[in-house]
């Protein structure tokens, strides 16, 4: 797992400005980005950091679950991570555990089920998208991602916060 959380966002966001960060009352939302492609991880990290997010990346579902404290060794000492992650964004097609399976595990957990999960994929397969949305995914995004996509995501999640 890449320790990009160590190099947290270089911009200092102001807490009062709602134009920064996903959630109005969260200064620097912490996003966990999961993707098996090193190129896509680098891209999504930059896109998110550009919008004042703190980013942790994981190369597969297992690592992601470990980071969220939902791994096999469900350690209460990892609970610290649980309250920190504000959003999980994951690729659908990954070897081992797919993004869908990761989504399910998150939604099944009592601790993490409230955290919004966004699925991304390079393929537009309506059946796949509906399956994810039904399982509780907040949004589906088509790759390759652009800055405008992340901005839309932010707006969508801020609306969520208000309801």
């Amino acid at each position: 797992m890449e320790a990009s959380s160590a190099s947290s966002s270089s911009s200092s966001s102001s807490s009062s400005s709602s134009s920064k960060g996903f959630m109005e009352n969260v200064e620097q939302p912490h996003v966990l980005a999961v993707d098996d492609s090193i190129i896509d991880r680098k891209l999504i990290e930059k896109l998110l950091k550009n919008l004042s997010c703190k980013v942790t990346t994981a190369e597969n579902g297992l690592r992601a679950l470990e980071f969220l404290g939902l791994g096999d060794h469900q350690n209460s000492s990892l609970e610290g991570n649980i309250s920190k992650v504000n959003l999980v964004i994951t690729d659908y097609c990954m070897p081992g555990m797919t993004g869908y399976e990761l989504l399910k595990k998150i939604k099944e957990s009592s601790l993490m089920k409230e955290v919004p999960v966004v699925i991304m994929s390079s393929e537009y397969v309506p059946k796949r998208i509906n399956k994810c949305l039904e399982e509780g995914a907040q949004m589906f995004m088509l790759k390759p991602l652009r800055q405008s996509d992340i901005k839309k995501l932010r707006c969508h999640l801020m609306k969520l916060e208000r309801t």
Binding site: S37, I39, C93, P144
Partner: protein
């Protein structure tokens, strides 16, 4: 002490007078010293020439579909916090692609080809080409995928050759692009946005 050459940087005002005083000196060594004027206009010309070269070259890469809009997106992401972002991502892409092409070559060389493995690797290469914006490589991967879905070994081998060809073309183009950018930066010019 005698100098062989005097370089006058930005001599707009004092250049001629300086030259005249050198030439009027008694001492022949000094009198015959060469004088080189480095005028800012010349430097500015050099920069704008490099800029034009870069803009034209970049445009040609888009015209010939080597690059597409996604590459523009990458360039837009580059900023003072990450001044080498594009080069870094592209370098990752080169490394990853070469690995995938090796895997594909190996997989297609087996007695019994594991098409699931072939498909997985082509999918990854297609994905990363799409993320970088190297359109021709991406298209070659799409055709490759069709062959692997049909479990057509001959087709796959041809597709792999095509992918390798497009990849080496675009790698060359991108390396040239980065070289032009570096030349422009070294000449003191800003990169065109």
């Amino acid at each position: 002490m005698y100098y062989t050459c005097i370089c006058m940087y930005n001599p707009q005002r004092g250049g001629r007078r300086c030259n005249e005083s050198i030439r009027s000196v008694e001492n022949t060594k000094t009198k015959k010293m060469s004088a080189v004027k480095l005028e800012s206009e010349t430097m500015a010309d050099g920069v704008s020439q490099l800029q034009k070269q870069l803009v034209d070259y970049t445009a040609s890469l888009f015209d010939e579909a080597f690059l597409d809009e996604q590459f523009n997106q990458l360039q837009q992401l580059q900023d003072e916090n990450n001044p080498d972002f594009v080069v870094e991502v592209v370098s990752l892409f080169f490394k990853d692609s070469e690995r995938l092409v090796d895997e594909l070559t190996k997989a297609l060389d087996q007695q019994t080809v594991d098409f699931k493995l072939v498909d997985k690797n082509v999918h990854q290469l297609k994905g990363s080409s799409s993320s970088i914006g190297v359109q021709r490589v991406q298209r070659a991967c799409i055709a490759f995928r069709d062959c692997s879905e049909e479990q057509n070994v001959e087709g796959c081998l041809k597709s792999l050759q095509h992918v390798k060809h497009e990849y080496s073309l675009v790698k060359n183009k991108l390396e040239t692009l980065f070289k032009l950018q570096n030349q422009l930066l070294a000449a003191g010019g800003p990169l065109p946005r």
